[in-house]
């Protein structure tokens, strides 16, 4: 009896094991939107119109989809800067610093190599930005492991230092004298600009971000380093007892995370701005924290979450223009969704329907 039933029961079990990870965040999202609707009704605005506009502005047409994808692209890399260290139990929130320094390093490399073949220039810019970001967040990891400095505080403070350093370079040694009222570095060689994905109005940063998420996922789930990182994230002492090199593991993961954030800065310079200036400190590093937490630090889940936030962001303009809502409304919405999803964390494992044993017993 059980022999014959096992394939279908196995499928149900498989589903039950995974359904929780989808159903709970989805339910949380819906509750968040409902809570926001109540807030809107108090303002005397129609939630129906809001959701219709959000759909139209974020996903409802090809233009809106491209708008969403463009805004999601930088969030993929900046979220990885939070998600990777989180696997080791570290809360790194200073990705913004790695992004701006990566941007400055990329702009410097791009200007220095003017005239070189495009491929060489772009690769050099990418490597320079990753090195700068890796150094910055790698230092956060080293401070944590070897000097016991709290990584959350140090990464945040180092982000301020990074922004000050960027301003110093952009307004000082690297400044293009022609940039009078908006201090900027010299523009990179136009040959090094990375353009749009063919057939789309979205730059290549989106592809780079998705590839980085996939690589990170493989690293964490399929390699011995990822396994070691998960052990160290669960219990550092246990990992040390097992003889795992926890120090290099922490510094390495932080450096990789910073490298990805630095790469986001390079893409901002090479695909959007054309030089480094204060505009590259656009807050992607901070939105990345939100994305990573909503994705529960799962690199593959970062992709849909970044799309969701990109879509909310893309539709924000339409909400301002059509409904006369201030920009802060979108921030309230993001805040509500974030809180409800954090609350929903406490529900994991509480619902019997998601318990594979339940389905096993019925067999």
């Amino acid at each position: 009896m059980s022999e014959r039933a096992s394939p279908s029961a196995g499928a149900v079990e498989w589903l039950a094991r995974r359904a929780e990870a989808f159903v709970l965040p989805l339910a949380a999202l819906i509750v968040g939107l409902l809570a926001f609707s109540v807030f809107l009704l108090f303002l005397g605005k129609s939630p129906l119109q809001l959701f219709e506009l959000m759909w139209r502005g974020g996903f409802g047409s090809w233009f809106s989809v491209q708008n969403t994808l463009s805004r999601a692209a930088p969030l993929l890399l900046s979220a990885l800067c939070v998600a990777l260290p989180a696997r080791l139990g570290l809360v790194v929130i200073g990705g913004e610093g790695a992004i701006v320094l990566g941007g400055v390093a990329a702009a410097a490399a791009g200007y220095a190599l003017s005239g070189a073949p495009a491929f060489v220039g772009i690769v050099a810019m990418g490597l320079a930005s990753m090195a700068a970001g890796a150094l910055w967040i790698g230092a956060v990891g080293a401070l944590r492991h070897y000097r016991a400095v709290n990584e959350t505080i140090s990464s945040l403070l180092m982000a301020y230092i990074a922004i000050a350093l960027m301003n110093h370079f952009v307004e000082g040694p690297l400044r293009d004298p022609a940039s009078l009222n908006k201090p900027s570095t010299h523009p990179i060689d136009p040959a090094f600009a990375i353009g749009d994905i063919p057939g789309m109005d979205v730059h290549w940063g989106l592809v780079v971000g998705i590839v980085a998420c996939v690589i990170s996922s493989i690293l964490i789930e399929k390699t011995s380093w990822g396994f070691a990182a998960r052990i160290a994230g669960g219990n550092v002492r246990a990992a040390q007892v097992q003889g795992l090199a926890v120090g290099p593991l922490i510094v390495g993961f932080c450096a990789l995370a910073g490298g990805f954030a630095g790469l986001a800065g390079m893409i901002e310079v090479a695909a959007v701005q054309g030089n480094a200036n204060a505009s590259i400190a656009a807050g992607y590093g901070y939105t990345g924290i939100l994305v990573a937490f909503l994705a529960r630090h799962n690199p593959l889940a970062i992709i849909p979450v970044a799309l969701l936030l990109g879509g909310i962001d893309a539709s924000g303009g339409l909400l301002q223009r059509r409904m006369g809502l201030p920009d802060a409304t979108v921030q309230v919405l993001q805040g509500m969704i974030f809180l409800v999803i954090l609350f929903s964390e406490t529900f994991y494992g509480r619902f019997k329907a998601f318990n594979p044993d339940l389905w096993q017993r019925r067999r």
Binding site: L48, E52, S70, Q273, S279, A282, P326, D327
Partner: protein, 375 residues
């Protein structure tokens, strides 16, 4: 007999409910497309529309367009100078049918507005603060700006009369030409009252950084400064902090008198309504829009806040006299002999720079009497 009535009533309720639901959903449909002659204009701001500063000045100018017949206004605030602003412009064009766009932040110009202007040659773009150059920038783009330095000179006159310590202060964002010109003008205005006055300047390094602005204001007042002005995106923090400490304040960008009614002397304000009305009137009449627009107090691009209650009779007299001089045109704040605060001559005796002088657009120095450094 009762049954059909019931159905009717139910149907009636159903239809009304549906109608109401459709009505709610329908309000967002682009009904305005029905009026083909309408002109939709998009405004994009880098900060909040009610910041008592740079963005509010633009939003106030934009708001005056609402009264014009056939004009539809679409606005978006807090748009960063990234791919976001490109998408916002595109969205205004695609979804709202905007034919004239005003991206008002300096950083929107290159590369963002230029990219969109190339993509939508039939849409007009006018940008605040940029330097549109013939042959270099597309024909459907342009830039406008105002000579507000003379407003800071008038601020300086009010400050020069109000100060007792002979020390005035300036909270500045970045040491760029537009800001340096304002700092220098403020000091020169004050020195036209008393040549012994000095002005301490503090650069915060960012256009909008409330904590540092408050720290800078407090630091100035701790050093004995008793009149403060600023050039940051939102003067709100500086004005409230200074007035809270008992110092007088001169405003910038917009009117901050409501924030400190007793301590507010006067302020240099933008008067963008005139500029925006000019563009819209021309476009609706089918005329070509100018690509390069500049003007000062005498052109109605800049205005002064009404003098506050703390401004004395002597101050009022000199203020109004100088304002009348400026309104005649050709007034020069920067005239020789003039040295910078490192001792270099920046204008020889007899040399003078009127507000339109191209040399002022690349100012890199602080004049003698300003305490502070550009780097």
């Amino acid at each position: 007999m009762a049954k059909p009535l019931m159905i009717n009533r139910r149907r009636f309720l159903q239809t009304t409910a549906m109608g109401a639901a459709l009505g709610v959903a329908g309000t967002s449909l682009p009904l305005r497309r029905a009026f083909a002659a309408d002109l939709t204009i998009g405004f994009i701001y880098v900060g909040p529309k009610d910041d008592y500063g740079y963005n509010q000045a633009h939003a106030e100018g934009a708001a005056t367009l609402k009264a014009m017949e056939g004009v539809t206004l679409v606005e978006e605030e807090n748009v960063p100078e990234t791919v976001d602003v490109q998408k916002t412009m595109e969205s205004m064009i695609n979804l709202d049918g905007a034919r004239l766009l005003f991206p008002t932040s300096f950083g929107y110009f290159d590369p963002h507005m230029l990219a969109m202007a190339a993509k939508f040659p039939e849409v007009q773009f006018r940008h605040c603060g940029g330097l549109w150059t013939e042959g270099k920038h597309p024909k459907n783009t342009g830039s406008y700006f105002g000579y507000i330095g003379q407003g800071q000179y008038l601020n300086g006159i009010a400050a020069g009369h109000a100060t007792k310590s002979k020390k005035i202060g300036f909270v500045a964002a970045k040491p760029i030409p537009q800001v340096l010109q304002n700092v220098n003008s403020f000091l020169l205005g004050a020195r036209s009252v008393d040549p012994a006055i000095t002005c301490q300047v503090i650069f915060t390094g960012e256009w909008s950084l409330a904590v540092k602005e408050a720290e800078a204001t407090n630091a100035l007042i701790d050093q004995g400064v008793d009149v403060v002005t600023c050039h940051v995106d939102s003067p709100k923090v500086v004005v409230e902090t200074a007035a809270g400490r008992g110092a007088y304040v001169c405003g910038y960008h917009a009117n901050q008198a409501p924030l400190a009614p007793e301590k507010y002397l006067t302020g240099a304000e933008w008067n963008w309504a005139n500029v925006y009305k000019m563009y819209v009137t021309k476009l609706m009449a089918g005329e070509t829009l100018p690509n390069f627009t500049r003007g000062g107090l005498s052109d109605g691009f800049v205005k002064m806040s009404a003098l506050g209650p703390a401004v004395g009779e002597a101050a009022r007299k000199q203020f109004e006299g100088t304002l009348a001089e400026i309104m005649k045109g050709g007034f020069a704040v920067f005239k020789g002999p003039l040295k910078d605060n490192k001792g270099n001559v920046v204008a020889t005796a007899g040399q003078s720079f009127v507000e339109t002088a191209i040399e002022l657009e690349s100012m890199g120095y602080l004049v003698e009497g300003v305490l502070g450094s550009t780097s």
